[in-house]
Structures are given as C-alpha cells and as structure tokens.
C-alpha cells in the first residue's frame, strides 16, 4: 500500500517538474542537443550559455517571436 502511494506521489512530482520545465522553456537546451545528436551523434553542440544567448538574441532580431496579446 505505502509503496504504491510513494510511487504515485513520485510520478505526480515528476509530471509537474516535466510540465514546468517544458512550459518555461528550461528544457529547450536539452531538446536542441538531442535534436542535433539525433542526426549526427558527434555533432558539435553549443554550451548551454551560448545556446540561451542565441535563443534570446533571436527575439531581438524578430520581436514577433514570442509576442503576447493584450
């Protein structure tokens, strides 16, 4: 009984963590690396710092990216 409860709580916590990371874009870097590696396992990948800079700077170039409504 208890182990089932623990498992359920853990599954929920993992689900929430996954959702928050996806929604905030925290998982964007992991996804990008995975995307590059899927085509070529030895592909050069940017560091997280470089990647995050590139991602925000793209918005400077085209402010319609990620635009929000009133």
């Amino acid at each position: 009984m208890r182990s089932a409860l623990v498992r359920a709580v853990r599954r929920t916590a993992e689900g929430v963590r996954w959702y928050v990371r996806e929604l905030t874009g925290e998982s964007a870097y992991d996804r990008y690396v995975e995307h590059l590696r899927a085509h070529d396992p030895d592909a050069p990948v940017p560091s997280r710092r470089e990647f995050e800079r590139m991602r925000t700077d793209r918005q400077d170039a085209d402010p319609r990216q990620g635009f929000r409504c009133c």
């Binding site: 996804r31 995050e52 918005q59 009133c70």
Partner: protein, 724 residues
C-alpha cells in the same frame, strides 16, 4: 483481440449510453444556468448560475461544434505532417506536447484584455456581457483562433499579414498591414491609459510597479550571466521579490517617501513613455524576457486563484441584469446603446483579432498534429473566455453605486464624494458619501472616484471576493495585488508592442531607405522606436488630458480597431475556406465575419456620423467649435484650452475611426473579389499550401487520449523498440 469496432458489442453500446447521459446532464446544467440568469428580475443572483451557464455552454461548444469544424469542415488530417515535424530545427520549429502547447498558447493570448472589457461593459448590466462573451466565443472567437491556426499550420506557420498578401492580394495585404499597425498604436495608448488611471496618486501601487524594473533587471542578469536557462528558479526568486515589493509598498505609502511616489497623471505619462522607449531599445534579455517570465507566472497564478475564489465563495451579483443605460445609450462609462457598443467593448474573451497574430506565427510551428487545433485553438480561447466571465463577476459583485462612481469621468461626477454620491444616486444607484469614502479607505487609496479604465474596478471586485476567504484585514493587499498583476503585464505589453510596431515600421520604411531594414542598425532602431513611442504616447497624453474622460473617448476607438482586426482575420479565413474548395462551409467564418463587420461598421458609423454629441465625434467637435466661436465654455470643459483640446481630440478620433473602417472595407471588398473570381473561374486561383508529407509522429488529438490512440501509441513504442 480488439472488439471496439464491433458495432453492437455490449461494451460500446454501454459506453455510448453513458456518453449520451453525461452530455444531457451538461446541457441541462448550462440551460438551468441561463434560465436563472435570464428570468431573475429584481432579486440578487448568485454567480454560480453564471459559471454554470458559461461552463455548460463551453463544454457543448467544444464537444460538438468545434469537433464538427475540425473533422467535417477543415478535414484535419492526422496523417499529414505539421511544420513542427517537417521543419523541426529544435528551436522554434519543434513538435511540442499538446498539454504544454495549450499552456503556451493560453499564456500568449490571455492578458489584460479579457479583464478590462467586461468590467467596462458591466455598465449595461451583467447579462448582455455574459451572453456576448459566451455566444461570441463559441461561434466567433474560438472559431477564428482555431481556423487561423489550422490554415497557418498548413502554410508552415505563415503570419496573418503574409496569408492576407498571398491569398487575397497586394491591396488587401497592404490594407491589413496598415490596419494592424494603427491598431497596435491605439492598443498601446489605451493600455497605458489604464495603468495611469490605476497608479495616479497611489504611492503603494506606483512603488510596487517601479520595483518590478530592478527585479526584472536582476533576473535578466541571473539568466544571462549566472545560471543561463534556469527559468523556474529565477522566476520563483522573482515572484518572491515581487510579493515583497507589494508588501513594502504599504510601508512606503505610510512613510515619508510617500510623496516621492505620489505622481500626478501627467507625470506618469512621461515616465511611461520614457520607460517604453528605453525598454524597447534595450536587448531582450535585460528587461523583456525576465518580465515576461514574471508576468506569465503571475498571470497563471492569479487566474487560478481568481477561479478558485469565485467557485469557493460563489458571490452574489449586485449589478442589475440589464441597466437602463443599455437602451438609453447615455452611460457614463462609454456612450452609445447596447447594440453595437457592448460587442466592441468586450473584445478579448469573446472575439479578439489580436489572437490571430498568435494563432498564426508562433503556435503553428510547434503543433504536433493537425487534429490538435481544436484543443489548442478552440480550447485556449474557451479558457480565455472564462477569464472574461470571472472579470464580469468581479465587476458585478461590487456595489453598483461604487461601480459607477469609479467608472464615470471626473467631468461628470465631480471630485468630491458628496457630489459623486448625488450624481450616482440620481442615476438610480444609491450610495452615500460615507460609503464612497469608506470604500477608498478599505483599500488604502486616497480616493476611488473616476478611477476609470477597468483595472481599479476589477481590483476592488477581486479584493471583495478574496476578502471573503481571508478576512477584511487583507482587502488592501488584494486590491494592490490585482493592480500590480495588471500593471505588470501591461508594462510588458508596452515594451513588446513597441518592438513589434517598430519591426513593422522598419520593414515598411526599409523599402524607402534600405538601411532601416537592418534591425540591428542602432540609429534606425532608436528612430523607429521613438516614432512608435511618440505615437502611442500621443494617445496616452490626449487620454489623460481629455476633459470628457480619456477612457470614455478612446476605448470605443480601441474596441473598433480590435474588432476590425478580427474582421481581417475572419476575412482571410473565409477566403481560404472558399479557395480550398470548402465553399459550402464558408459560413463557419462567414457568419461571424458578417456579424463582426455589421457591429463594427455600425459602431464606426455612429462614432463618425451620430447626431448625439456623446457618441458622434464630429457632432461633438461641431458643438464645442460653435461654443468657442461664441466665446463660451461648456461643461465639462473648464477653460478655453479645454475647449480646444476637445475639438482637436474629437477630430483626431473621428478621422481615425473613419480611416480604420475604410481600410477594413477595402480588405473585405478585395477578399470578396478573390472569392467571386474563384467561384467563377477556379483555375485562376492559387493556393499556397505546403505539400502533403506523411507524418511519422503518433500523438493524441484531445487532452485525454482515447482508447484507440493509446493502443496506437503502444504499437508505435513497440515498433520503435524493434527498429532501433
């Protein structure tokens, strides 16, 4: 063995019977809600009925109408790969889980809009607003969002402007672009005006909002330098700091610093325009991106809190179902009668053209399956609509006397509580001067009179609802919490909107002077940002100094422009339905278009040509000009300068309204020409749809996977295991 296909198996017939029973109950709940709302006269009604009516109708609309549109009209094809799958680059094009995308899309479409419009429309009573919010979203707003999303997905995520140009033609496309730019400017001016009205003479509010700037700068630095990409942790820190700023606002308001943060409206205008200008030329990572995280967190948190508050307390609606202003057309909040003005005052929440800009562009690049447009497009819009219903509830739970004292311009009710009480009581809404003073004291503001714009009224309503749970001691905190929450994302919108306006301007002016097209060319950046801020700053300045009341004059122009953008979006949708061989289904967006065009063009017509000086801009101009010629000053103007201000403003507003209406007529006429040509000679039309590629992804269409979809996912997992 699968037996789901066997028609008469006991399992499916039982399931079908259960479905019928469930949906009958849902329909009954909705119908009872509407019945009580419509039939209750003279007694106070619980908000529970409004919630029941709305949720019941949403469920029916989503289950039946949206499904019909998705499968019968659009013929969404789950075997067809979406741009996210075909063009996956791991950054902006990537297949995103439908539940995540629903959150993204909702956060992008819902902002201050659905909170402001319904509050202002409450002057006609709660019933007209509720009917329009619910019926409008089911038949027009959510349909528009979903259809735009579908067609943009079929076109690799093209923007609305690009689709207008490609599918209608250069004339319609240019008119649509110009209209979008004008609308952006008016939107920013009016949103900024809402903030000025909420923060003027309020040291608590001004201090907490000012603190959001250093907080955002800190978050930006953290994300850029200290720990790149750790958005959740920095957002938690930011929200904690924000709540601290909110609490400390009270201390500041009670200290000797209070004077420094007690700003007159015209001072706030200068601060806001300066903020908009500086923020929009700074790099995104410094201010915009962190602010965006903060406001998204606050937005989702507050909306959930408000929903819980409404459901837990189920407050009583004190506003009448329909007020006399609905038919007389002389309401103090905005002039004009129910038709057409309720339908332009409530845009976001019922039908909002701005959503078309989100549904085309960002979201289509992330959707996994065409069959998810119902969940993402229609579903998100239903969620936004429920936010609008909550705003209407919040505006209707406060004393109607207080509501009118807060929302009538100072020129009408004067600036003392005695005077205001007398005027508002004269309209038939009893409230004593003591009660008006007490209401302001309770939220620790010096005065609540003429706090127009919707945000303060919503904040009072929210504090009323939350105080029922947390006790009266927290009332002032909740009021300022709600103000802060609205101000936060309006300031973000000023920054982001200025950037988008600038981008449009750079793109257009770049055709004349080449270097302007380069978006990183600093002088061009500063120049175009300055132009955009100057333009919306002009409307803000005018709104603050308008003797007739800025919101009263400008909100209808804003409403008209937003609904005109919806007309553009619906026109593009209808044209695409016709051109893609769905002529017999063109009414799906054609009827909402006809309704929207009728409402909006009627409103524009009245604003331009009406003989009632409260409604018609040019009649107003004429009356004030004649008085100037005679050397008279007529109320609410106090000086000759005021008189000249009224004349200039009504001329500008009138011309603007007329130009916007003309632009839309051009777009609709051009689209009609394309549609007629297509019907006569289909061979002449071209359709720029991306070609069919078979999808390899497996993903459910709805929020919860069906049994079949689950089995398909399992088969896919097994297949992938064997293959790799």
């Amino acid at each position: 063995m699968r037996i789901a296909n066997a028609q008469n198996s006991p399992r499916t017939s039982r399931a079908r019977a259960r479905t019928v029973i469930v949906w009958t109950i849902v329909a009954l709940v909705g119908a009872i809600g509407w019945g009580v709302l419509a039939l209750a006269r003279g007694e106070e009604v619980s908000a529970a009925w409004m919630v029941a009516a709305a949720l019941g109708s949403y469920a029916i609309g989503y289950r039946f109408y949206a499904r019909f549109i998705q499968y019968r009209v659009l013929k969404a094809d789950r075997t067809r790969a979406t741009p996210a799958e075909r063009l996956n680059n791991g950054i902006d094009f990537h297949p995103t889980d439908r539940r995540v995308l629903l959150g993204h899309h909702f956060a992008a479409i819902a902002g201050a809009g659905p909170l402001v419009g319904p509050v202002l429309a409450a002057q006609m009573g709660y019933l007209p607003g509720t009917i329009w919010i619910v019926a409008g979203v089911i038949f027009a707003g959510a349909v528009q969002d979903m259809v735009v999303l579908f067609f943009s997905t079929r076109r690799d995520g093209r923007s609305l402007g690009q689709m207008a140009r490609e599918e209608i033609g250069p004339v319609g496309g240019a008119a649509a672009l110009l209209a979008a730019f004008a609308i952006m400017i008016i939107l920013l001016g009016v949103l900024a005006l809402v903030i000025v009205n909420a923060l003027a003479e309020s040291p608590w509010g001004t201090f907490s909002i000012a603190m959001t700037i250093p907080i955002a700068l800190f978050m930006g630095f953290y994300l850029r330098v200290l720990r790149p990409g750790r958005v959740s942790e920095v957002s938690l820190i930011g929200v904690a700091l924000l709540l601290f700023a909110l609490v400390s606002g009270r201390w500041v308001a009670q200290s000797s610093w209070a004077d420094a943060f007690t700003l007159a409206p015209s001072t706030l205008v200068i601060w806001l325009v300066a903020y908009g200008f500086v923020a929009s030329i700074l790099p995104v990572w410094m201010l915009l991106a962190p602010r965006d995280y903060l406001s998204t967190f606050m937005k989702i948190g507050t909306i959930l809190l408000l929903a819980a508050g409404v459901v837990v307390t189920l407050p009583t609606l004190r506003m009448p179902a329909v007020t006399d202003f609905a038919t007389r057309g002389d309401g103090p909040v905005f002039a004009g009668s129910l038709f057409p003005f309720v339908f332009i005052t409530i845009a976001c929440g019922a039908l909002s053209g701005f959503h078309a800009l989100i549904s085309s562009g960002t979201t289509p690049k992330m959707i996994q399956k065409e069959t998810q447009v119902r969940l993402i497009g229609y579903g998100s819009m239903l969620m936004e609509s429920s936010v609008a219903v909550m705003a209407l509830v919040a505006a209707s739970v406060i004393d109607p006397g207080l509501y009118f004292a807060m929302n009538a311009p100072a020129g009408v009710i004067g600036d003392t509580v005695q005077n205001a009480s007398q005027v508002v009581t004269g309209w038939g809404y009893q409230i004593s001067p003591e009660d008006l003073a007490a209401a302001a004291r309770q939220v620790e503001e010096s005065s609540l009179l003429s706090r127009t714009g919707g945000a303060p009224t919503l904040a009072v309503g929210v504090s009323e609802i939350f105080a029922q749970v947390t006790g009266d001691g927290m009332r002032a905190f909740w009021y300022h919490f709600a103000i802060m929450f609205e101000a936060l994302f309006i300031l973000t919108a000023l920054d982001a909107g200025t950037r988008v306006g600038r981008f449009m301007l750079q793109d257009t002016l770049g055709n004349v002077y080449r270097p302007l097209k380069n978006v990183s060319w600093k002088p061009g950046l500063v120049l175009t940002s300055g132009i955009v801020c100057g333009l919306w700053g002009y409307f803000l300045w005018v709104g603050v100094h308008e003797p007739l009341g800025g919101i009263n004059q400008l909100f209808p122009v804003f409403g008209i422009s937003n609904q005109l953008l919806a007309a553009v979006a619906l026109t593009v949708c209808t044209t695409l339905l016709v051109k893609s061989g769905r002529l017999k289904w063109a009414w799906i967006t054609g009827v909402p278009l006809a309704w929207d065009a009728t409402v909006t063009l009627t409103a524009s017509w009245q604003k331009v040509f009406s003989d009632d000086p409260r409604v018609g801009f040019f009649k107003q101009r004429e009356i004030y000009q004649d008085a100037i010629d005679r050397g008279e000053v007529i109320a609410p103007a106090k000086t000759m300068d005021d008189m000249h201000t009224v004349v200039t403003n009504s001329t500008v507003d009138g011309v603007l309204t007329a130009v916007l209406a003309l632009l839309i007529v051009v777009v609709i006429a051009d689209a009609a020409r394309v549609c007629v040509r297509h019907v006569r000679r289909p061979a002449l039309s071209t359709l720029s749809e991306a070609r069919y590629v078979k999808s390899k992804l497996v993903a459910p269409a709805g929020l919860f996977p069906t049994g079949e979809e689950r089995e398909e996912a399992e088969r896919d997992a097994v297949g992938a295991g064997q293959g790799g």
